[in-house]
């Protein structure tokens, strides 16, 4: 019972996955500020995605997948807002309704024996074959992380693959005012 200040607090709520979307000024060092806040304060980044989203206003959107208790995630949101170039932080899990997707590119080693199975599976998951100069079999699959996970698991059972994943991006599906 004699608990110290530095002992980890009682787990009052369960650890959950959260998707945070952070709008930032597109200026040098801004990504380092965001990432540094996570590493410096001991928070987790499961995946991170950044791209400019508006041409005129020079704003980028960073999508971060993290996990933690609701206390930790709320602290993460507040710490992010302290960063000067950060416009807003939205926790998409709190918004309730959001759509997420990610892209994976899969290099598949195909032989005569597994060819049929591979194409069937790709068809099932609507993975699209990407034509390329070297005529190798590279598939692209997009969708929720869960779906991509399942696809990768199943294709792995058939043959050797190499995978690159973008990590999820997400957007709120709630109807918005025009100005947003």
């Amino acid at each position: 019972m004699n608990k110290s200040v530095y002992a980890s607090p009682d787990q009052v709520s369960e650890t959950k996955r959260h998707i945070l979307t952070v709008l930032v000024d597109n200026e040098p060092g801004v990504l380092a500020r965001v990432i540094g806040m996570f590493s410096g304060r001991g928070y987790n980044i499961d995946s991170l995605n950044v791209a400019e989203v508006s041409n005129d206003e020079n704003i980028s959107r960073i999508t971060i997948v993290t996990h933690g208790t609701s206390e930790v995630v709320s602290q993460i949101e507040k710490q992010l807002l302290r960063i000067v170039p950060v416009h807003s932080v939205t926790n998409l899990d709190q918004e309730g309704n959001s759509v997420e997707a990610e892209v994976a590119l899969v290099y598949i080693y195909i032989s005569d024996t597994n060819k049929k199975k591979v194409y069937q599976l790709c068809d099932l998951y609507r993975a699209r074959k990407i034509e390329n100069e070297n005529n190798t079999t590279i598939f692209e699959i997009a969708g929720a992380s869960e779906r991509v996970n399942r696809f990768i698991k199943e294709i792995n059972e058939i043959t050797k693959v190499e995978i690159v994943r973008s990590g999820p991006v997400a957007i709120s599906s709630i109807q918005k005012n025009e100005e947003e």
């Binding site: 019972m1 200040v5 380092a32 602290q75 507040k78």
Partner: protein
């Protein structure tokens, strides 16, 4: 028509427009164009320190004693890395600083050039914001934004890194009022911000039976008016009030409601009152671990109100019932008007019972120490210093350790901005350069650095600065030849094994002062103490007063790490629970 001026001139012009009077700095290759421009003007004074670390602490001392922004100018590479401690210190204690660093010319960036370092990379986590300015035409807008960010909301340090070619390049200057800073980059509370929360809080206070105000450094950062309002509100409620190390002076020590400092070495009555209160009103404090002690036993039966300008402080370590985000001055002003409008009055009978209980705790006389013999007790030295300086306008700075805690316990502060100490980071070597900065800001005031023999050596080179600028700073060393706080912890928690905490080969501080053409004084016994202090005050020169104090005195009362507010140790003789001592050992 050509209005173009050089980048270096833009730097100086921006500083002048921002009302900067003094810059603390040290020249070097990558800032030579700025120093050249500095040479050609008279409006901004430059204080040459002897190591860049001294410059930033001096700027902190200047900022905290005057309420203005401290400005630092140093070169690239080692110049920049030497200010990292000070930047972190200013970040932790929310001190507004603008730090200008030179950088190698842009075409050399990334080539491991001489005196190159990734300054913005290194300082990113220890500044509120930082810039690498690559375009001379953006220089003035960066400066004006930097000053605003340093002062806005929760203040903090901002760093501007300027490559040498940008200092030479020609560009246009834009005036302060032409710069529009987007609102998301600042903290801007609306006037009726949090009104509902404030009403809820005031109602809660009006129903309290055992209230306590817990005041922090945020009240000082909010300006002198905030302290006046806080005092007014506390008087209206009639509630006891305790202050953190950073909040000392917000409510005067002699105020009838004041219980003094709380926390690890705070007053017994303050900690007990925090433990037993039913409504806690935290104004501008952040539930620091030195204050809370064991978190799960922190003030278990109270409703907590927390006023803070930084939302991330809310529910960071302690969950509160009524959070209010805003500037202390505005929030407390609103609280007062709500209290008056609704004609609230606290239940006087319960309040009297509460004060009776507190007065019982006061009888413990927790600061009591054995003052027998000819040897000077460190507590006694601070008490005498207070008695002999209380009628003078005095600023006290400290280093870090036992002397810092004795200064906080025994020196009585009646006003804000008079007490400058490194609270969050705990930087040994802070006090002397901070005293230099405070003296620069207040040339006619008495500025005393209460120091330890170990801490003072960390920035002793600034003696040269103090003497050069005729700054009559007084260094009051409580000399016990130990790193006293380390020794105390080793005694209490590490079986008295004094590993590397004895300072052998200390300099003769009197001769050391004399070698800088300052004045050195020494007191070895209680008989000599008053004379030395009086002489120190009367000397119109930099003084080192070397006060030989008893070597193995411990700083009490004390909440050991891992203990709760109601488990204070009042003296060494008090038996401590062995188990909790073992647990406390792993903490800092």
């Amino acid at each position: 028509m050509n209005n173009e001026i050089t980048g270096a001139e833009i730097v100086l012009k921006s500083l002048a427009e921002q009302g900067v009077e003094v810059v603390f700095g040290y020249p070097g290759g990558a800032v030579l164009p700025i120093y050249d421009t500095l040479f050609k003007q008279n409006s901004i004074k430059h204080v040459l320190v002897r190591q860049e670390g001294g410059a930033i602490h001096a700027a902190e001392g200047y900022a905290r004693s005057t309420g203005k922004t401290g400005v630092v100018l140093v070169t690239s590479g080692p110049g920049a890395t030497n200010v990292v401690t000070g930047l972190t210190d200013a970040m932790m204690d929310s001190v507004p600083i603008v730090c200008i660093t030179g950088q190698v010319p842009q075409h050399l960036i990334g080539s491991d050039a001489f005196q190159e370092c990734d300054t913005t990379g290194i300082t990113r986590p220890c500044t509120k914001h930082n810039y690498l300015v690559k375009d001379v035409n953006k220089l003035s807008s960066v400066f004006h934004e930097a000053f605003t960010i340093a002062q806005n909301g929760r203040p903090g340090p901002v760093l501007i890194d300027i490559p040498k070619d940008v200092q030479f390049a020609s560009g246009t200057y834009e005036e302060k009022n032409k710069i529009i800073i987007p609102s998301h980059r600042l903290f801007e509370p609306s006037p009726d911000f949090e009104k509902n929360k404030i009403e809820e809080a005031v109602e809660l206070i009006s129903k309290a039976k055992k209230p306590i105000f817990y005041i922090g450094g945020g009240c000082i950062n909010s300006g002198p008016k905030a302290s006046t309002l806080v005092r007014e509100f506390i008087n209206m409620v009639g509630s006891p009030v305790t202050m953190t190390l950073m909040g000392l002076g917000v409510v005067g020590s002699s105020d009838k409601n004041s219980l003094g400092m709380l926390g690890m070495h705070g007053m017994y009555e303050a900690n007990m009152a925090m433990h037993e209160c039913d409504v806690m009103i935290n104004i501008g404090a952040r539930f620091d671990d030195r204050v809370t002690g064991r978190l799960d036993a922190f003030s278990p039966n109270s409703k907590k109100i927390h006023i803070d300008i930084d939302e991330s402080n809310i529910n960071k370590t302690i969950n509160v019932d009524v959070p209010i985000i805003g500037d202390v001055k505005q929030v407390v002003e609103t609280m007062i008007s709500v209290w008056k409008d609704r004609k609230y009055k606290i239940d006087t009978d319960s309040l009297k019972l509460w004060w009776d209980k507190i007065n019982k705790w006061k009888e413990v006389d927790c600061l009591n120490y054995n003052n027998e013999g000819k040897q000077i007790k460190p507590q006694y030295a601070v008490q005498r210093l207070y008695e002999l300086t209380k009628n003078t306008k005095t600023f006290i700075t400290t280093e870090v350790g036992q002397h810092q805690m004795w200064a906080a316990q025994f020196y009585k502060f009646e006003e804000p901005n008079r007490w400058l100490t490194s609270g969050g980071l705990g930087t040994m070597g802070y006090g002397f350069p901070a005293a230099i900065g405070a003296q620069v800001g207040h040339p006619d005031a008495l500025v005393v650095d209460i120091a330890g023999d170990a801490s003072i050596l960390m920035n002793i080179q600034e003696m040269s600065t103090a003497v050069q600028y005729r700054l009559p700073v007084k260094i009051f060393i409580l000399n016990n030849e130990y790193m006293g706080m380390v020794r105390q912890w080793q005694e209490l928690l590490h079986g008295g094994r004094y590993s590397e905490s004895y300072t052998d080969s200390l300099p003769d501080f009197v001769k050391l002062a004399e070698s800088y053409k300052a004045v050195g004084l020494r007191a070895k016994t209680t008989d000599e103490l008053d004379d030395v202090i009086t002489q120190m005050i009367d000397t119109k020169n930099t003084v080192i007063a070397d006060i030989w104090v008893t070597k193995e005195e411990n700083c009490f009362p004390m909440i050991q790490s891992g203990s709760a507010h109601n488990e204070m140790m009042l003296s060494k003789d008090q038996k401590q629970d062995k188990k909790s001592a073992e647990k406390g050992k792993i903490l800092v």
